[in-house]
């Protein structure tokens, strides 16, 4: 129904635009399009798109941006029920082909961003991702297989993100494990992927720097299905917990299920690759005691986001309509619309160019969103370097928890927010 209401508002706005015909007065001066490119086939992607739509509907209801009405069009980068960089590229090309599009929210997956940035940067097309965490997209690090300057091909930076990067996730868990959980010995397991090895390295480095000891092991998905020997080695090492670097599609949570089979009950720690329903499914029978990080603030824990969340819940009442990145998408959309508004002023109240929007976005400082106040550095990274820590728990009402829940066997086991680390304040 709310979507219908949004549609009515949009339709009315379009009528008004036609009626006024661009004449002077309080009417709309025209339309500007904002797109989103998200894996809408997934629960997380759909919930993120809801955040974009909500922000734009709200802005239009309040009069639009500098007299312009914003039209939203959501693109889906799913192919065969999974995100696809090819589909993402196609979507960006569609947006670039329509000069009313002045910016986009997305993508959701770092691999998609890697494919899209080279195309969008040539057109100075502003992209703001609400969910990408791969540091290589914005930082020139030696471990990266690709580098930001190569993706941008000499064009000014057009890519921004409102979440922080993986290189803060590992250290956040190190600090939590060493200082809060008081662990001094941890077994570290990686899935031999770029992401898994990278995040495990950042955990290990920080944990050792704090004074802890680690034992490192790796596996490959297509070669290992019996993890008990590796787990046994960790146990003999005296590990008080296991940190895993990897993602659920590499079976990273299968060792969790097998820990029960060898009667070993220490906590299981990891990055955002395990804060997923599939991880809970893989750990079937041993879901409790999984700690995971997420590379952003949990909006449900930020007091300033409360009113926006309750307004959102009223507009999108479904149990899965709100997700971990919905408010990030909301902030990203508002930051983009603020930049568009400034660009319109720069262009004397006329429709700005894509470069004007990009330049204004790059100048964004002190943008007050509901999750926090954002600045963006020259690479497009946010100053909000917040990492949240979640723990799996039995939830009375899975639709109201802060994190995701199991989707097959343990539907009441959910990730519940515990604490957060703000690296802008730590370092």
């Amino acid at each position: 129904m709310v979507r219908a209401r949004g549609l009515v508002v949009l339709t009315l706005a379009v009528f008004v635009a036609f009626a006024c015909g661009g004449s002077t007065g309080g009417g709309s001066k025209g339309t500007i399009k904002i797109g989103s490119d998200l894996p809408v086939c997934t629960v997380g992607g759909q919930a993120t798109q809801n955040g974009v739509k909500f922000a734009i509907d709200q802005k239009n209801a309040a009069g639009g941006v500098e007299g312009f009405t914003i039209t939203f069009q959501g693109f889906d980068d799913c192919r065969q029920a999974a995100y696809s960089a090819d589909a993402g590229v196609e979507n960006v090309q569609k947006m670039l082909g329509d000069n009313k599009f002045l910016g986009m929210i997305g993508p959701y997956n770092s691999a998609v961003a890697k494919a899209e940035i080279p195309i969008s940067s040539a057109q100075h097309f502003t992209m703001i991702s609400p969910a990408n965490t791969n540091p290589c997209l914005t930082k020139d690090l030696p471990d990266c297989s690709y580098h930001p300057q190569d993706l941008r091909k000499g064009n000014p930076n057009n890519y921004f993100r409102v979440v922080t990067t993986d290189d803060y996730q590992g250290p956040a868990m190190s600090i939590y494990a060493y200082n809060t959980l008081k662990f001094t010995k941890v077994g570290v397991l990686d899935d031999s992927t770029v992401f898994g090895v990278g995040i495990a390295n950042t955990f290990e480095t920080k944990f050792k720097a704090l004074g802890g000891a680690t034992l490192r092991k790796g596996y490959k998905k297509d070669q290992t299905s019996d993890f008990r020997v590796i787990l046994g080695t960790f146990k003999t090492f005296g590990a008080q917990a296991i940190y895993v670097g990897g993602t659920d599609d590499q079976n990273i949570c299968v060792p969790r299920a097998q820990m029960k089979a060898i009667g070993w009950t220490v906590p299981f720690l990891g990055g955002d690759g395990i804060e997923t329903p599939d991880c809970i499914n893989e750990a079937a029978g041993n879901e409790a005691g999984i700690y995971a990080t997420s590379a952003g603030a949990d909006a449900t824990q930020v007091p300033s986001a409360a009113s926006a969340i309750s307004a959102f819940r009223a507009a999108f009442p479904g149990p899965n309509d709100f997700g971990g990145y919905t408010m990030q998408a909301y902030d990203a959309s508002n930051a983009l619309m603020a930049a568009i508004g400034r660009a319109i002023k720069d262009n004397n109240g006329n429709t700005p160019s894509r470069e004007q929007v990009r330049a204004e976005m790059a100048k964004t400082t002190g943008f007050v969103g509901v999750v926090g106040t954002y600045d963006f550095d020259a690479n497009g990274d946010t100053n909000l370097k917040i990492v949240s820590i979640y723990l799996t728990e039995q939830a009375a009402d899975p639709s109201k928890t802060s994190g995701v829940c199991g989707s097959k066997t343990a539907k009441n086991v959910c990730f519940v927010w515990k604490t957060q680390f703000d690296f802008a304040k730590i370092s």
Binding site: S225, N251, T409
Partner: protein, 348 residues
């Protein structure tokens, strides 16, 4: 059945014995330096080995009788676990405690899965191998690989790419697990864990292998299988129904693979659609290691490869385990093509 020993006690055999001796010495050093670790890996390795043995038997029986490497066999094993999960799903079993219902379900589902998988494997033989019985040997090998993809594709469509949970039916938890160890009471890190499941896997595999051995050696059909393996044409002249005998071989091989799949599922509680590819190759290596076509050899080979994999996981690193196992396959083929106990294949 005649045992063909290709190589005599030559340089190659000597190399084989030297390699084995080195491996044993290295393991002994580890065993002395950290006995708890060693024993723990031994327990896991034996349990894994028992499952590999069950699969390897299917490879070796089929190879022994029609000289076909049935690459789809590993996927029959995985399908067994999938079928078991589905059948168990019809009952309200408890994963928290071992109830009477669990026992009843186990006793019902085990034979059901074995029979279903037997039926499927006989169908596979009828569709993909029998029409090619007199074709060049490469043809059924290719259809076998094709069948493997068909089965994997089917399981992918059935349950998708994510891992599938198999209910934890067997007794587990406190009361059903024990610890061995030298100073276990003092240092819990030195405890060797043995669960009911580990014992269950070994006992179940031992029972199945014993039944198979009795069947092959004592029953009339077993005798027919041995005769067919030795000389197909002569057996046919003696009035043995070759098609029926070969179908029976596939049926029995799949009974064991289905049981293996279900045991794997009950043991690890997770399976994925492509599990059979790797597990099948390892079981095939076990069959070659024991001497292809040789039934006790396959059982022994499975146990040895299970142990090798576990020790490699523990002492070398799991990323190297595949290298070690297939290195052994190459080593056996080069230095001792007849395997540990000698291969038994049809006479030409």
């Amino acid at each position: 059945m005649r045992t063909a020993r290709l190589g005599g006690l030559g340089v190659a055999d000597l190399g084989f014995y030297i390699l084995c001796a080195i491996a044993v010495v290295l393991l002994a050093i580890q065993a002395i330096s950290s006995p708890a670790d060693f024993l723990q890996i031994l327990v896991f390795g034996l349990a894994d080995g028992a499952i590999y043995a069950l699969i390897a038997l299917g490879y070796t029986m089929v190879y022994g009788i029609i000289e076909l490497i049935n690459f789809a066999h590993g996927d029959v094993f995985t399908l067994g676990a999938y079928v078991a999960t589905t059948l168990i799903g019809f009952f309200a079993v408890s994963e928290d405690a071992f109830t009477t219902l669990n026992l009843v379900v186990l006793l019902l589902v085990f034979p059901a899965v074995m029979l279903i998988m037997g039926g499927i494997n006989v169908t596979i033989e009828r569709i993909a191998y029998r029409p090619l019985r007199n074709a060049p040997r490469l043809a059924p090998l290719i259809t076998a690989i094709g069948m493997s993809f068909v089965l994997e594709g089917f399981m992918f469509l059935w349950h998708g790419p994510a891992t599938v949970h198999v209910p934890n039916l067997l007794p587990h938890g406190p009361g059903f697990e024990g610890y061995l160890g030298f100073d276990c009471a003092v240092n819990s890190n030195n405890c060797v864990f043995i669960g009911f499941k580990d014992v269950f896997v070994l006992v179940a595999a031992a029972i199945l292998v014993t039944l198979l051995a009795l069947f092959i050696n004592r029953s009339k059909l077993g005798k027919a299988m041995r005769a067919t393996a030795q000389d197909r044409d002569a057996s046919q002249l003696m009035g043995i129904n070759i098609n029926r005998t070969i179908a029976a071989t596939f049926f029995i091989g799949a009974l064991l693979a289905g049981a293996g799949g279900m045991i794997w599922g009950l043991y690890f509680n997770t399976v994925s659609y492509n599990l059979g590819f790797r597990t099948g190759l390892i079981a095939f290596t076990s069959a070659v290691f024991g001497g292809i076509g040789n039934i006790p050899g396959a059982a022994l080979g499975g146990m040895v490869i299970g142990l090798v994999a576990a020790f490699s996981d523990g002492y070398i690193g799991s990323k190297w385990t595949q290298v070690v196992i297939f290195g052994i396959l190459i080593g056996v083929l080069v230095f001792r093509p007849t395997g540990l106990l000698g291969m038994r294949v049809p006479e030409k």
